[in-house]
């Protein structure tokens, strides 16, 4: 890369650094505090959100109840799929759950799918334009996964309080899961249970995508070590990419499903326990 000899560790490390703006360390280019922005994450997040919004707008404007066109057909099948999940899992009705679920599913899927673009392609193009660091998969950034997870967490708390009332929600902390004689234990248990929801959501997605991206990088290192390993790199890279098609879809689906489940739990009163 760029003429100079580069060790494997340097290659990997270079690929793990975000394009940073704001409060950044000038030497390591890592964020030095909270007030730093990962421009690449935001940029690709916006691009994919824009793509999604544009397709939704294009389809939503020319809807027909008759025979749908190709694009409408595709979008319809996705919407129906999500609608079925929501209907099966979510008790009662809330007009926000469907759009929330489909947005999570598709946006996360698209951001994960950036993984399938050859690992060096976009950073190389970025370097031509003078951007030294570029991490193209927004979901390998804790900022993205926790943005989603904390938004869902906020909604969980909001609906818990809205549906059960502040007292009802408090009772859940006091008397769940061991009844009224172990209140201190209950408080700790329920708090852990509640906090585990966003943490597991955010870390699961981050961990899967980060590990996947790392393995793409390791495979890419093969031909860097020796040009004779190029066939291996092609075969392994293809296999991993094919496997990753499953992973990215699955992770997006799991995130959506857990969101529906958690919000469904927030909508059910657990008095009958």
């Amino acid at each position: 890369m760029s003429g100079e000899a580069q060790s494997s560790a340097e290659y990997i490390q270079h690929h793990l650094v975000n394009w940073c703006a704001g409060n950044c360390d000038p030497v390591t280019h890592q964020a030095a505090g909270f007030w730093a922005f990962h421009v690449d994450t935001l940029l690709f997040g916006w691009l994919l959100a824009g793509l999604m919004a544009w397709i939704s707008f294009a389809v939503g404007r020319v809807l027909t109840t008759g025979t749908p066109g190709t694009l409408q057909n595709v979008v319809e099948s996705v919407v129906e799929f999500v609608q079925t999940q929501v209907r099966d899992i979510f008790p009662g009705s809330n007009p926000l759950i469907g759009p929330l679920a489909i947005t999570i599913f598709i946006w996360v899927f698209l951001m994960n799918a950036m993984d399938l673009i050859p690992v060096d392609l976009l950073p190389l193009i970025g370097r031509m334009f003078g951007f030294e660091y570029l991490k193209v998969v927004p979901t390998t950034d804790l900022g993205t996964t926790f943005a989603l997870a904390l938004s869902v967490f906020a909604l969980i708390i909001y609906y818990n309080i809205k549906i059960k009332g502040p007292i009802g929600y408090l009772k859940q902390f006091l008397f769940h899961p061991f009844g009224k004689y172990l209140i201190p234990v209950n408080i700790i248990m329920t708090t852990i249970e509640e906090v585990a929801k966003p943490v597991s959501l955010g870390l699961r997605l981050f961990g899967n995508m980060f590990a996947g991206e790392l393995i793409f990088m390791l495979i890419a290192l093969l031909s860097l070590a020796s040009i004779f390993l190029l066939p291996f790199q092609v075969v392994l890279g293809s296999l991993w990419a094919i496997f990753h098609i499953l992973i990215i879809t699955l992770q997006a689906f799991i995130f959506m499903l857990l969101t529906i489940v958690y919000l469904g739990m927030a909508h059910t009163s657990e008095e009958e326990h």
Partner: protein, 156 residues
């Protein structure tokens, strides 16, 4: 690899995206899907109704055909009856007409015969007179023997 203000940016993006998807895709599309479902359900119901009506119509048509056949049979029967009546009437008429003609012919024959008889009588008388005249070599005066001749004519 720490959490930065990127988080806030992505939360904002997410919120806007959810709002956008809800207003421009989810609501119109689910409405359209529900409409289509209703349309299809209506169509199926209409098809079923149509089938039912067709069945009814078939039954009605069969009934009508049955009635029509019965009526036709009645009409044919009446026509046959009427035809035989007409034939009978014609026969009767023909018979009476024949009888009438026969009677008239008989009367005429009798008249002709009588007339022929009268004629023959007259001729017999004149022949008799002429014969008698030849026998007597004398002319017989029919006027002188008027009475005698009348008797003779009556006898013939």
């Amino acid at each position: 690899m720490n959490i930065t203000a990127t988080l806030l940016g992505q939360i904002l993006t997410f919120a806007v995206l959810v709002w956008f998807i809800q207003h421009y895709l989810w609501e119109p599309l689910t409405t359209a899907l529900a409409d289509r479902q209703k349309k299809i359900a209506d169509g199926l119901a209409a098809a079923e109704r149509g089938e039912h009506e067709q069945e009814l119509a078939r039954k009605r048509a069969a009934e009508k055909i049955g009635e029509a056949k019965q009526q036709a049979a009645e009409i044919v029967a009446q026509a046959q009856k009427r035809a035989s009546e007409i034939v009978e009437e014609a026969k009767d008429n023909a018979r009476s007409e024949g009888e009438r003609l026969l009677a008239a012919a008989n009367v005429e024959i009798e008249q002709e015969a009588n007339r022929a008889k009268e004629q023959l009588r007259g001729q017999v008388v004149s022949l008799a007179v002429a014969g008698a005249g030849r026998v007597l070599k004398k002319e017989v005066d029919p006027k002188a023997h008027q009475k005698l001749l009348a008797d003779l004519v009556a006898q013939i």
